[in-house]
């Protein structure tokens, strides 16, 4: 008997399912409303805590120095006096990924560098974000046809914000950072019901 040809509509349930009180209650749809209410109530309880944590996280993002190529120079230019990133609380460029929570992938991710970028990402403690900067990191950029370049860093790690440009201007960097801050602001419980101010 070929399993594909069985006509599933004809199969009847042989064992009679016992009808419990819960099933009856469920038919009236009461349980789903109670669950939804409790979830929303939980939201109100937790969403304020989430908002505080979101605000703390977005206002003190400590990037890890992982500059690979030309965009690394623009990363330094963004962190320097003229376009000061320290205004957003990102002044301490932690050298070790253990204390960082934001990773700028700035530059071309070559095949040889890919496992190390992935290891760097995995070493970072949990609430972490990745900003892929420059067309090389986004999709391989001008080196798309090259044999030794990975076509975009999102092939190996999840990316939150993409900044186009080759290299993107420091203003574009700061715009990308602001986009990430917006994204962090809308995380957590309160996001679904628009409770996050």
């Amino acid at each position: 008997m070929d399993p594909l040809t069985i006509d599933t509509t004809k199969i009847k349930m042989t064992k009679k399912q016992p009808v419990t009180a819960l099933d009856k209650l469920n038919d009236t749809g009461l349980i789903s409303t109670v669950l939804a209410a409790r979830e929303r109530e939980g939201l109100i309880l937790f969403s304020t805590i989430d908002q505080v944590f979101n605000w703390a996280r977005l206002s003190s993002l400590w990037p890890v120095t992982s500059g690979l190529a030309c965009c690394a120079i623009e990363m330094m230019a963004t962190a320097m006096a003229h376009h000061d990133v320290a205004r957003f609380g990102m002044e301490i460029f932690r050298a070790s990924p253990r204390q960082a929570d934001l990773m700028f992938v700035a530059g071309t991710v070559t095949k040889r560098m890919a496992p190390r970028v992935k290891k760097l990402y995995e070493m970072m403690p949990d609430p972490k974000w990745v900003i892929s900067v420059g067309s090389c990191a986004n999709t391989g950029g001008p080196y798309h046809e090259s044999y030794s370049v990975l076509k975009g860093v999102d092939m190996i790690i999840p990316v939150d914000v993409y900044i186009p440009g080759c290299p993107p201007r420091p203003e574009a960097w700061i715009y990308g950072i602001i986009q990430l801050r917006e994204k962090i602001k809308n995380q957590g419980y309160g996001a679904k019901w628009g409770l996050n101010k």
């Binding site: 040889r112 496992p115 290891k119």
Partner: protein
Amino acid sequence: MNPAEEIKQLFPDSVVSVGHQTNKPLAIIKKEGLLKIAEKVKEMGFDNLSVITGIDYGDRFEVVYNFLSYTKKQNLVLKVVLGHENPEVDSLASVWKVADWLERETYDLVGIKFRGHPNLKRILLPDGWIGHPLRKDYDMSVDQFVTVGEDGEDIVSTDGSNLLRR
């Protein structure tokens, strides 16, 4: 007197022909005489070996050495023509120390072996890389991925399953 003719007089048998490379004196020499000529060139004051280029012409390989004499402000180009099967030529690392890495890079990208080189290994690509990219018959379709072994060395494999994110 341009240095290419000078070398022709000194080593008449191993210099195939003398000419010009756009504006620099050029001497095409045989593979065997390379090391002797190189030592002579160093004495003539060409202390800067600028670049070593390996070119794959489909039926033959060519290795081109460009020299500059800082003192005499002169240029010289030496060219060696090699067969296509396994191109092999003497290494100049003993004469110019910069040749060590230039030859390793030529071996890495074009696949020309250099006899007598201290440690002829790949310099830019990971060791297990298949093929030499700058050869005309290098197929670009094969995608090779690199993963890190326990002691930090690179392992090249064509399937990137543990690396890529599906």
